[in-house]
Symmetry: C2
């Protein structure tokens, strides 16, 4: 038996999220169907670093699986990509030791959220950015971003429909980069993230950018430990799982 670690990129637009669901097109379901084909009908389960919601993308998501097929890693990449649809692409396949675990061994995760800050819409970026048609106060957003950095109980920034008990996480970096073409990238690196945490942080930063909240309000929101105090969850299409570090 061999354990393989795969790095995969996908365009989340046409998926009902990462996790397998009956009668839905999901990333996990699509990959497991291909693996079943390669294993001549044998079911193969994959384990990812975490889920992504419908419409959320991955630049580099990681999953592992166990196989008894004796195929070199480079050929695995070719075999998978030749059977996968054009919105999923395997970047890398590496053999790992039997104790590697794509979820439990995560050291750090990076997400990026893209805003299109412009009066005008851009049809070509509608699936990959969140369009904000008004100007944003970047300085205020940067000040508020600092509040999230460090170890905090992120209960206020976590969707309520979750079974996770420990809501303490550490954010190492949270920065806002103004890119070319009216694009703002919110880059966040942390030890791990709660359900919809990045999108709720972004929604909260947006309210700061619009002047509806002050950076001081953000401190209060975290202290409340109550989801109802934070802002609306930002829409999925701006979010990309960028990198998983082990």
């Amino acid at each position: 038996m061999v354990k393989l670690k795969c790095t995969v990129t996908y365009d989340g637009t046409n998926f009902s999220g990462y996790q397998i669901q009956p009668n839905k097109r999901t990333v996990q379901g699509t990959i497991e169907t291909v693996l079943k084909k390669i294993h001549k009908g044998l079911e193969v389960k994959i384990v990812a670093s975490g889920r992504t919601d419908a419409g959320v993308h991955a630049h580099e998501q990681v999953f592992h699986f166990v196989t008894k097929l004796n195929i070199p890693s480079a050929n695995w990449k070719k075999a998978l990509n030749s059977l996968l649809p054009d919105d999923i692409y395997i970047r890398k396949v590496e053999q790992v030791s039997a104790d590697f675990h794509a979820r439990y061994d995560v050291k750090r995760k990076e997400y990026r959220y893209k805003l299109l800050v412009d009066k005008e819409q851009d049809v070509f970026r509608r699936h990959y950015t969140y369009h904000v048609p008004m100007p944003l106060n970047k300085e205020a957003m940067e000040e508020a971003a600092k509040v999230f950095i460090g170890e905090h109980d992120f209960t206020s920034l976590c969707a309520t429909n979750t079974s996770v008990v420990d809501k303490v996480r550490t954010i190492y970096k949270l920065s806002i980069i103004e890119d070319s073409n009216h694009e703002w990238v919110i880059q966040v690196i942390g030890s791990g993230f709660l359900y919809q945490m990045v999108r709720i942080i972004v929604g909260t930063l947006l309210d700061v950018g619009k002047g509806k909240l002050t950076p001081k309000d953000v401190t209060d929101i975290i202290e409340k430990k109550d989801r109802s105090y934070a802002s609306q969850t930002a829409p999925p299409q701006g979010l990309t799982m960028w990198k998983v570090t082990y």
Copy 2:
């Protein structure tokens, strides 16, 4: 009666091209449906600078129409965009004189064709680039590009299913720009273009880049005035109608 000139951008991915066709989702059909709604059921025809094929995009396409509605131009933009789907966006609406014609008055057109020249695929650019997984000889392509510049009979570079008789056109500029992220942009500006001419030029340049043709062969291909001598038509998704000048 007022004549309006509209500048429109669209993502061609989910359209069966620009021109209206029964039971197909087309750009023209979609815009005319919206105009009919605004005109309370009255049919309004639009006239564009030219057609684009299925999968081909527009950064700035231009069309005109005539209306008896008395609405300021700025409100026209809002009204149209609020009813159009999210893959079509009106950038500008201007009132023009009665003798303006979106097709006949074109002075110059610019198209851009994007290549993704990289061993690896990019799921996020699959609808907006043509993926070329091998290296290309850019110097040879640039030399070949020069051959197309100027006034020529472009019969060899035109799809055969066309009713156009005069196939003489002038190319003012044809350049290859190596962009960031493995993207090569082939920019072509001309007096006008024959059916699939840009995509056949790109296909021919690609064969030069791959070493299948020399720049000298390109001179011969033009002189033959026979489509069968030029290369395969490059796929639609790399092509964008960039700008129309009057």
